[in-house]
Symmetry: C2
Subunit: 338 residues, 2 copies
DNA sequence: CTAATATGTGGGAACGTTCCCACTCGGAAC
DNA sequence: GTTCCGAGTGGGAACGTTCCCACATATTAG
């Protein structure tokens, strides 16, 4: 910068103003500075800038699992707003392991990011609270009621109810649920399922899962061992639903003729032609955008109360659900129920 | 840091040494410093540290498309080695748009990252060359022969040959290719296909595609319009293969009975039960690890010559390929060829 | 023609570290 | 008992910016 100033025959301060394109510089000098900068191949040092200005212009995003398309789609929304608002993103992955997540978070805090967005974090709420003392924090896709920690979540339980009600409406009565274990969205989805079943006077059957394809496959095996097969399965997410579906088909069941399946998240996986999975949609891009806006309010100090945003899921019907098989003998009763 | 030093009754320099766990500090003082730091909630400022030490301990990773599981799997390898070697990752996405990629790259350079790994970048080689003048650069999954730009690529053409030879071995003669357009891996895969076809004395038929699911679907429509259908299709990547497969099945073709399909990348998509796609495997995790090691050699100055690593693809056979239908009347000729 | 007001411009002190060098101090060697 | 040594410690100058304030210059009003 020193060199650029000298080459352009101005002071350091002026170069600084030009680099941040401040409007208080005359067109003439601005041009001279830019030319000198280009000639010398000068590139501002973001570290020094952040140090001096005490802000980084960076929002940290704690990503859990790069393999789950759900997160990629939320990122689309995050990126768009961040770019528009002139913020950079520092992504980091937790790889579904709490300890690694903590390390990644710590690194972001050492970088003095202006805010942190956590996607479905595994972190204990104590750790999150402590982070929030230092910098604004927004948690996405996990309910969390901590002072000064804003959240953006979908009404997971309601989504589960939509799924169950859709199946009931088709005439299903024996509806099983492959759950997501204790990962953040697991319990609320399970509760939504149980509540909807109870409301319809039906019996809940929960098979443990873990949001992974393999988990879905294993759970499907459990189902195949049941002495009376369900006619429909509501699975905690699309990935597990795909796994379960594959296993059930392999066992000779036709989907949806012999068994209906509903997933959750409506990821790109669900819309694949070969899978064509009925699924509960979350407005992912919108959620990502909302998260950035929420954190910007904090960063800019526009808001100080804690905010909790709840988005509403919808159901997307595809070819994996249909009426239960006639042979099951339940159709009429079920129709009556719907 | 000042405060911590005062609280522990030592000098700033000593605190600095403790924070970097230098061995030249007595156990007694170290303990005192750590306690003071914990009590005051002190967290070193990574910006200041980088500024003073003139290195960041960060490797920038320019990611193209978060939606493609291929990149997620490479990231697994990158993360593992980076973590083990004590480097942080600064991810950034280009979203398959050259301009955004350039912005993201510029941002990394402003941060003075210690090196940049580019995954299948769209960037012009001039831009890459310029970046390489500032900081070590490794390009992954795109051939590039620039002084001081190291590369890690799979032998794409060989992979394509494996795919074609597998189909020929099964007896196919009319084998079409849905290509990847001008995205980095498109041309080498197309050339590999053409070469293998020529070597077998067969006629190449290339349908344009773009590595996306939709592109695959559109290409499949082109195929359906052909007056003599091919009995096998080699698609430039798994995503497009899935799209094509769905469209062909919708048109009533059975896979693999009526038509065989081979993909490329062997992503998690290919192994999904419903898709079960024969695909060319790239050692993704290994490639990620290799990329980090390669860049570390540069960062540490262990090597100064430009390095080009070539990994060898393999074929993973699944249920999407089989002998051509007997009715095609070509089986015997083809068997003779194989 | 002077004073008051816009506009730009420049210098110096932060920002929170690391790095370099000079120093102290206890113990070993002569 | 002096000298020497090395482990451990402390002070001051970077690192490359931004920010604050004072200043120079040109423009306008009285």
């Amino acid at each position: 910068m020193e060199d650029v100033a000298r080459a352009a025959g101005v002071s350091r301060a002026l170069v600084s103003l030009v680099m941040r394109d401040s409007p208080l510089v005359s067109a003439d000098r601005r041009k001279r500075v830019l030319e000198a900068a280009a000639k010398l191949g000068y590139r501002p040092n973001a570290m020094a800038r952040s140090l001096a200005s005490r802000k980084t212009g960076i929002i940290g995003v704690l990503l859990n699992d790069l393999h789950n398309p759900f997160f990629a789609e939320i990122m689309d929304g995050i990126e768009e707003v961040a770019e528009r608002e002139g913020y950079r993103l520092l992504l980091s992955t937790g790889g579904r392991r709490e300890e690694r997540e903590a390390t990644a978070l710590e690194a972001m805090l050492e970088f003095r990011v202006d805010g942190v967005i956590m996607l479905s974090p595994l972190l204990s709420s104590a750790v999150v609270r402590r982070a929030a003392e230092t910098t604004p924090v927004v948690v996405l896709s996990r309910t969390m009621r901590i002072q000064d920690v804003d959240t953006v979540v979908t009404d997971e339980a309601f989504g589960a109810q939509l799924a169950v009600q859709h199946l009931i409406g088709l005439g299903h009565v024996r509806i099983a649920h492959i759950d997501g274990g204790e990962y953040p969205s697991g319990p609320p989805r399970r509760r939504g399922y149980e509540r909807a079943m109870r409301a319809a006077g039906l019996k809940s059957v929960v098979i443990p899962g873990d949001f992974s394809e393999n988990g879905g496959t294993r759970a499907a095996e459990e189902i195949l061992k049941m002495e009376e097969l369900p006619t429909a399965v509501f699975v905690a997410n699309d990935l597990a639903a795909a796994g379960a579906m594959a296993r059930l088909q392999e066992a000779g069941l036709r989907i949806p003729d012999d068994m209906s399946i509903v997933g959750f998240d409506n990821t790109s996986l669900a819309s694949l032609g070969q899978i064509s999975l009925t699924s509960v949609n979350q407005p992912r891009e919108e959620m990502g955008e909302l998260a950035v806006r929420t954190i910007l309010e904090r960063i800019r100090g526009t808001r100080t109360e804690t905010a909790h945003h709840l988005t509403t899921p919808t159901l997307v019907v595809r070819r994996s659900t249909a009426h239960p098989p006639v042979s099951s003998g339940w159709e009429e009763d079920a129709a009556g129920l719907a």
